[in-house]
């Protein structure tokens, strides 16, 4: 029991450090990619190729004065960024980044918590994330912040539905709520050697899920809660210094986690199909799996960044119409079709 606790603690610390480092890299990548898209150079002065720019930004945020508005609700103003970052980080706990690794004679699962209800855990936590933004908006006692908070709660409620419904399609095919088993099901190959990834089996669910994931992580074209031209800074208008930094951090952690979930549910997860051909087994296979996972996640993140710098923001009524009148019916229709086909296949 003591040993399990130590292993779990080590995994948590390692994951947190990795996530924080990745955020720094992602911010740098985002700035360089945006510069590329807009035909600029981007940060290139601090460190080699500007790699240390994000580190310099973090130091700047740490040194800044923390200003709380006079009429703000201080405890909740402090609590909101903590909720945001806590929820964003703990979602990663159930995502498997590999099968098992043998270290010091022990089999170690490559995820923090192997729970029976992995997907539901993710859904539960993403539905908690909205409180950080909403409370930030409310406690600042500022019109723009409040509007940002309101928009965020309406947006998340609307897109959570289509997200949940599109996940059910995946669940029907995998027959399990455990992320590890969902990945295992995708390791097989279909006719003609295509990997049995859910993106091929559930293409409609993939599209609706990715769109909903953009909305849930408040990334452009769905960043209505912080639309600068309309709302100054949206929910974080009244935040400065480290607390603003925490919101930034949680936005990027959310992006990493969303990419990891997309990879796990739809793009085959960590599964490395050619393990036998290359004669890999044990720890070398585990390393190959982790690398597979990282490359896939990195590509999805690159896609998300490219979308941000190519598409304009939705208008608010367009956002709601898309969520309720397009996304939800499509996701529901996909669910009905999938369930019918599966029932027919079982019946025949």
């Amino acid at each position: 029991m003591f040993e399990t606790a130590i292993i779990a603690g080590a995994k948590i610390v390692l994951t947190l450090i990795t996530l924080l480092t990745l955020v720094v890299l992602t911010v740098y990548t985002e700035r360089r990619v945006s510069a590329f898209v807009q035909d600029r150079v981007g940060p290139n002065r601090v460190g080699p190729k500007g790699l240390l720019q994000a580190v310099a930004d973090v130091v700047k945020l740490l040194m800044k004065e923390d200003i709380v508005p006079k009429n703000a609700n201080k405890p909740i103003h402090d609590l909101a960024p903590m909720i945001s970052i806590g929820v964003a980080m703990s979602t990663f706990a159930v995502i498997p980044i590999g099968s098992t690794m043998t270290l010091f004679g022990r089999q170690i699962d490559m995820m923090i918590a192997d729970v029976n209800i992995g997907i539901l855990y993710i859904l539960a936590l993403t539905s908690m994330g909205v409180y950080g933004i909403t409370l930030a908006g409310w406690s600042s006692n500022n019109k723009y912040s409040l509007l940002g908070g309101l928009r965020s709660s309406a947006q998340l409620i609307s897109y959570e539905l289509s997200m949940g419904v599109s996940i059910i399609g995946v669940l029907l095919i995998s027959g399990s709520l455990e992320l590890d088993e969902i990945v295992g099901k995708q390791a097989a190959t279909l006719w003609g050697g295509i990997p049995a990834w859910n993106v091929f089996l559930q293409p409609v669910a993939f599209v609706t899920f990715v769109v909903a994931a953009f909305a849930e992580t408040n990334r452009l074209p769905f960043d209505l809660p912080e639309a600068e031209p309309e709302l100054v800074g949206g929910y974080h208008t009244e935040y400065s210094g480290l607390k603003f930094g925490l919101f930034m951090l949680s936005e990027y952690v959310n992006m990493i986690v969303a990419s990891a979930i997309i990879v796990t549910l739809f793009l085959g997860g960590y599964a490395f199909p050619w393990g036998e051909q290359f004669g890999l087994s044990g720890n070398s296979l585990a390393v190959a799996e982790v690398l597979t996972f990282c490359v896939k996640t990195g590509l999805v993140m690159f896609f998300i960044i490219m979308i941000r710098w190519t598409l304009p923001r939705f208008r608010y009524d367009q956002l709601m119409r898309l969520g309720w009148k397009v996304m939800l019916p499509i996701a529901l229709a996909n669910l009905v079709v999938t369930a019918s086909i599966l029932a027919l296949m079982n019946w025949a």
Binding site: S127, Y131, W138
Partner: protein, 170 residues
């Protein structure tokens, strides 16, 4: 060595009752909502100590994640101010209400006091029952009719809500 389950139960139960009291004593509606969310989390934790993973996570998704967001949304949209303090008068009805609630509480305490833990505790079986598979099987075989009727009731409620929300039907 104290059983960890007992420790968890005591911590969660104190949190549960404490946050419940905070909900009804706060004057700011937003604070009351926040304590209610904490209350739901404590309840979900209690479900977890009973090995009911599925119920616990559904408690969070549905109540803490969806319904309370709507509560918060409406409270923020209406910009509700703190409740004003009223001067309360003691009436016969209030005395009766306090007496009756006290009686119910003493009954519950008495039942807990005289009852002996007669049920055999079977953790493996409880864990089996708390899984999604077991709940799904029960829901779609033994309880299929109530399940379907509930969905019809919910559809009716949704249609009613849409009609009420739409000012003019086209």
């Amino acid at each position: 060595m104290v059983n960890i389950e007992v420790v968890l139960f005591v911590v969660l139960a104190v949190l549960f009752v404490g946050s419940g009291i905070m909900v009804i004593t706060r004057r700011s509606p937003v604070l009351a909502v926040l304590y209610l969310i904490l209350n739901f989390f404590a309840l979900a934790g209690l479900y977890l100590t009973l090995q009911a993973q599925f119920i616990a996570v559904i408690q969070i998704i549905v109540y803490a994640g969806a319904i309370m967001v709507l509560f918060l949304f409406v409270i923020m949209l209406l910009n509700l101010k703190d409740e004003e303090k009223l001067i309360e008068k003691i009436t016969a009805r209030k005395v009766l209400a306090v007496g009756l609630s006290a009686a119910v509480m003493f009954e519950i305490l008495y039942i807990i006091w005289i009852s002996t833990p007669g049920i055999e505790r079977d953790v493996a079986k409880a864990e089996e029952l708390g899984r999604v598979e077991a709940i799904g099987k029960a829901l779609f075989s033994d309880f299929l009719f109530p399940f379907e009727v509930t969905s019809v009731v919910l559809i009716v409620a949704i249609v009613g809500a849409v009609i009420l929300a739409k000012k003019k039907l086209d």
